[in-house]
Symmetry: C2
Subunit: 417 residues, 2 copies
């Protein structure tokens, strides 16, 4: 894969946000010397051997809700073979048990492709029991089940990735019609980790474009409707601190993104659709130097955020305006309530939301739920609970027929650093 | 890349047509033993090292007519780095010189990606002069220029591929919105050549699906409108000889296909949109054992046709019903007039075309133009003419800044075998 060099890097305390890098070639050819350092070059190739090295240590989590079998199969076919597939489903289980169909699709694919996978249902009582026993009762709702929501599915996925012993976790949405774009996302994750200047790294994807039906033809818009708003206010927050306007954040709502577990296990994720923008907010809170960091070792190093613009357009199911509206609100809610959010930005957020009719005059943005970091989890108890109680949990063995999970699990991020 | 094994192979004389193989994984992971021969396995991985080996010897020809810069750039970004890019354009040259924009797009891309390319305009008088001098005056029209048409652009592309000294030539349409699918096509070509049991090989792509706008939503249809008709009659032809009905041909109209030059240089291509279906017809004529073959050496070996179903959907510009109608007619015309076409099939074709209103009762299908094989070309004279007279011809040098073309050129296919 060949990528542009990022031209600019913004700092927010220990957080380094690199400007969007474009993918130039999906496949940069036979392995050869990494020519990054040379004068006058505007781009860098990441040799395939380097991508492979990361892919072997990466789990790809697919949060899934009532997708069709054919679409899921396409997504699976695009995930590089060496990555571990983790499907976290919140699909309906009656009248038709759609999770059962998904699980079967994964198993069938993995049999043909001779590769391992993990699947679980978010609302499996056994999963809830295991998570509670492992020390994260905040994730459990009044019915005694893991809460509904995308952020919650991502947390479950990250916990499974941690149990698998992999070093990186990437997220890929299930509603994607183009297997080749899934392949590009995963490669971009690997390229980002390869280029990273720290073990605490996040890679976020910005799609090349998002085709929409407009007057009976395809129109390729550059930005999602929500992203523009989220990016604007995240950039505004950074600018208020630095005194210089910036456009550096281009991936505030990136569903496709990846984390080193060294970083991910330390982060507090938000519930629902607040999860992606809150990742930025949490980095600013924990590592921005404004508040005291619970992780002095990370502060002494740095947190690297890489943003990559893919070549493929993002063809997916249109969930409609309501969905977009919810996403936008949740993003602004978490930003508004962050202790690092300055009064000027707060004021602008309220003004925007009021003008949009999302807030009544004088009303305050809602609070979104956030969760403690997964480093709090007792992984051995989670593993024990999963394997004994979670009936929806499946480990699909790969060609080597070895267990997918590590037993005993190795914690990636101790609470005290 | 991981592919299903083809389950069935039909023979037509020396032509082996393998049943459609599906792509299972775009990326089959770290290189490992090729496990093709093992019992019980339904699929085969083609290791990346094998794909690379073919890609280094492959030229990818993009026939292009008035595409937008952004779409072309996307297509280029999907072509594996090691393949040589050849753009053959028949775009307008005034008011706006669109070829100039295309050429500039290719040069800019190649500069970033440090790779070579060739571009030429189909209607360049210097190209026509060079081709005439090299011994293929059939390609020249009354204006003294290379004839308009897709088949003609493909011939020019193949001649340039031959001059570059590459062993394989692949064709990829320019109107493709998904770079990842272009990448998959090229990989599938390479996988097909790797698996081929002969040096005389053709690899043809069948897309997974072709999304269409239907009542404001996307509908993923499995087959193009023209392909169904073309495949039906090609299969009918085979069945008339064998006495057994068959569905083996699934790629009669495949725009995305590739040829070993050993085979391609011996083939007679048709003009316009008859080019793709006529490739099958020409194989049946030259190597089907019905007529005497001009190439006994090939007959003693075999011609291998591989058909691969990709994972990616084919998102492209909808050229409308007229375009489709033309393509369908041209396919049936060449089949009808082939000396290997049996009376029963001829009758069925006429009945079909008459029922469609494409023929008046009693009328005969039109003749399509076909060209002599490129092995007739004096490559040295072609090279000389191109470099001295063809003003639209550009050789973009790659990282090694070596000439793109071989001088003197090595003929791939002598006329007498």
């Amino acid at each position: 894969m060949r990528l542009e060099h990022p031209r600019l890097t913004e700092r927010f305390g220990a957080v380094r946000i690199h400007e969007l890098q474009r993918v130039i070639e999906l496949d940069s050819g036979s392995d050869r010397e990494d020519v990054a350092g040379q004068e006058g070059l505007t781009s860098q190739t990441v040799p395939l051997s380097a991508l492979r090295k990361i892919e072997r240590e990466m789990a790809i989590v697919i949060p899934c809700m009532n997708e069709t079998r054919r679409v899921i199969e396409g997504v699976l076919s695009g995930i590089p073979h060496d990555c571990l597939i983790i499907l976290v489903s919140n699909s309906q289980r009656s009248q038709v048990d759609r999770y059962e169909i998904e699980r079967h699709t994964v198993e069938q694919f993995c049999r043909s492709a001779e590769r391992p996978a993990l699947t679980i249902h978010q609302r499996d009582p056994g999963l809830a029991a295991a998570i509670k026993a492992a020390g994260l009762p905040e994730l459990i709702d009044d019915d005694g089940l893991v809460r509904n929501g995308k952020g919650e599915a991502m947390l479950v996925g990250m916990a499974l990735a941690a149990l698998s012993g992999r070093r990186y976790v990437g997220y890929v949405d299930a509603d994607n019609y183009v297997p080749g774009s899934v392949n590009e996302y995963c490669r971009a994750f690997a390229a980002g980790f390869h280029q990273a200047d720290s073990s605490y790294t996040m890679v976020r994807i910005s799609w090349h474009s998002k085709p929409k039906l407009k007057d009976g033809r395809l129109f390729f818009s550059r930005r999602g409707r929500t992203s523009e708003v989220t990016n604007h206010f995240l950039n505004r927050l950074i600018a208020e601190y630095s005194g210089f306007g910036t456009d550096v954040v281009a991936t505030g709502n990136a569903g496709e993104h990846a984390l080193s577990l060294e970083l991910g296990m330390r982060m507090r994720l938000a519930g629902g659709f607040a999860v992606e923008p809150y990742e930025y907010v949490d980095l600013f809170e924990q590592f921005g130097g404004v508040l005291e960091s619970p992780h002095p070792a990370v502060m002494a190093d740095c947190v690297s955020v890489r943003q990559i613009e893919t070549r493929n357009p993002h063809f997916h199911d249109d969930k409609g305006e309501g969905h977009v509206h919810d996403m936008r609100l949740q993003a602004l809610n978490v930003l508004y309530h962050s202790p690092v959010c300055l009064p000027e930005v707060r004021k602008a957020i309220v003004e925007f939301m009021t003008a949009q009719g999302a807030l009544a005059p004088g009303e305050e943005p809602a609070h979104e739920r956030t969760y403690p970091p997964l480093s709090m989890l007792a992984l051995d108890r989670l593993l024990d609970g999963l394997t004994t109680e979670a009936t929806s949990f499946r480990q699909v063995e790969g060609r080597l027929a070895a267990g997918v999970l590590m037993d005993p699990p190795i914690p990636r991020a101790p609470i005290v650093t």
